[in-house]
Subunit: 214 residues, 2 copies
């Protein structure tokens, strides 16, 4: 099947909301507390931020440790990279992740505003304008035969779904409702015209939704 | 947690049987048809033998594609390597897997009978005598910081469990009973004194049993 475009470990609420619209520097997910969507992941042994040697090694851990497996590049929306809008005021902002970003591959940040590439540890950020298909072509080339991760946020996943470029999605649905915010879907069944779907409940309380192309 | 010793994709029946006792060259699993235990795996996209680009990408696929992820060596019992018993009559037998074994790492075959190492593609087979702890130490060194897979068969997994050397187990229980054969357990709950256990039913009919140390 060649190089896939994969959404992985993407968390939404029962009402399909993955982030608030009111993103700030202090609140990358706006009024949505990301721990309510992602606590399942932080409690696993495979969570990239874990350094204590502990954590669970059950079902959820298979998903967190698959995060980088076979991935050669990431595509992310500008709002995942930072809270700024419009032309770049300065270049001191280098993302939310400090000196050791968890990507370890080239990352393509979608933006209409050009900016020079830069490298932090083994992650290089490129800033690219273009259609989803054009950006995916660049990311595939950079991935050197491996798959490409579509990292989000919500609008970016929707954009690539609408362009029918996504091959697999792993979305966790947490037992919480937010009422308002950036919505991935009204219901996961919306994607059944194009995707198989398996729903796998986890002891942690989330339901893993696994989609792959029909 | 350092280098783990992991059992992966190990299939047993509802009555805990992973193979027959009557192994022959023609029937590596004796009277047990391995497809009744492992069909779930062969239908996934990640199954090592798959070359057609198809296959499912749901829950079961997370397990098959995890098979080699982070693994630097395998330990297997002599009966997994071949049907011979006693001293090696000749060295023409090189395992069941042809010129491209699916291991891609050093493999340590437990045997009381010495035999020279040999290499097929990127898999090198070593033939080792020693206690489970001694063999594990050699495999860990060869794995160069990665985990070690405990590949089976049933007796070998039991031997390492009894020596309390296993860190994680992924065992699939298929909806079939064999009545007789080589038994991994009477019931998975036998291991609960030492391991956490999550049971995850798959749409394919098997129940994934995920164990990790308490």
């Amino acid at each position: 099947m060649g190089q896939l475009l994969r959404v992985q470990n993407f968390g939404v609420s029962e009402d399909g909301i993955g982030a608030g619209e009111d993103q700030t520097l202090q609140q990358p997910f706006g009024h949505v507390d990301p721990m309510r969507l992602m606590r399942w992941a932080t409690e696993t042994a495979g969570w990239p931020g874990r350094t204590d040697g502990g954590g669970s090694r059950g079902l959820d851990d298979y998903f967190t440790r698959d995060f980088s497996h076979g991935i050669g590049a990431e595509i992310m929306g500008r709002n995942k990279f930072g809270p700024q809008r419009g032309p770049w005021e300065d270049h001191t902002w280098q993302g939310w992740w400090g000196d050791e970003p968890p990507f370890h591959t080239p990352v393509f940040v979608l933006t209409h505003h050009p900016r020079p590439s830069f490298t932090l540890s083994d992650t290089t950020f490129h800033f690219v304008d273009g259609s989803p298909a054009e950006v995916l072509a660049r990311a595939r080339e950079a991935a050197q035969g491996k798959d490409v991760r579509l990292g989000g946020g919500v609008r970016t996943v929707r954009q690539f779904l609408d362009a029918d470029l996504v091959d697999t999605l792993h979305v966790t649905v947490a037992p919480v409702k937010f009422g308002s915010g950036l919505r991935l879907w009204d219901a996961p069944e919306e994607l059944l015209d194009r995707f198989h779907l398996e729903k796998v409940p986890s002891p942690s309380g989330v339901v893993h939704h696994l989609f792959w192309r029909r």
